[in-house]
Subunit: 155 residues, 2 copies
């Protein structure tokens, strides 16, 4: 999306969906860059943060809480265990389950990722005043709220 050097003053450029997805792609790039500078990606942060917030859990529970698909958990957890940021232990009470828990190194890494993430927020919102930032997040929250309620089966 950044490559093509030609101007594109096209019809769709002002549509909310376009503005949204485009700014989001910039945001994602910034976040990913921040994370990759410490050798991680989005899933890693989400998992580490979820682990700290809710404590050790099975892969399935972890996936539900962090919004990561079960089939993507395997690779993500593997990558984290390879880096010793997380431990995968069999659940003695239920042999189907692995219990994933945060290591000390994992906690340190989480601190680093949080720092990067905070910097990224600022980079993203650079051109906006504090009040504008406030309004933007408020509007986005409303939108997200509305649409996740419709998709997440109400009950």
């Amino acid at each position: 999306m950044e490559n093509p050097p030609e101007k594109t003053p096209a019809t769709w450029e002002s549509l909310p969906t376009w503005l949204l997805t485009q700014t989001a792609s910039h945001a994602q790039r910034l976040v990913a860059e921040g994370f990759s500078s410490v050798g991680a990606r989005g899933y890693h942060y989400r998992l580490l943060a979820t682990l700290e917030e809710f404590g050790p859990a099975s892969q399935a529970a972890l996936g539900r809480r962090s919004g990561i698909h079960l089939s993507d958990m395997v690779a993500a957890i593997n990558e984290l265990t390879d880096r010793k940021l997380v431990e995968r232990a069999p659940d003695p009470a239920d042999r189907r389950c692995n219990i994933i828990s945060l290591t000390a190194a994992g906690k340190r890494q989480l601190r680093r990722l949080e720092k990067r993430l905070a910097e990224t927020q600022d980079e993203l919102l650079a051109p906006l005043s504090p009040e504008e930032r406030q309004r933007l997040t408020e509007l986005l929250s409303r939108l997200l709220d509305h649409h996740s309620r419709r998709t997440r089966t109400p009950e």
Copy 2:
């Protein structure tokens, strides 16, 4: 992202980058659904719209104007020619080039896609008042502007 039925009241949920990327993913889903209901996807719309706005052009020029990578043009144009929405003709003046042009059916399809797209805007912004919609697009425009200027080499 919509699948897991569990609540995820996690740390990062209020971060602007999260709100942005998540609402964007909802937006993208809505757009994609709208398009696919008439057998198209994003690239198709972008190409048809660009063709109508700028007239027939080579694949390369078309790609630059619509922000689609050259290497992705082949497949997209193939799909459009298969559906007779677009014509690929050799350029008599430059045998390296294909000249892509819109057919009547392509124009009709474009009208359909525009209609879907308009409906999608409304669906996306449903919970916002007209003034709020205005403010949101203005804020997003500012952000997008700022960040695309930094990436697109100024000159």
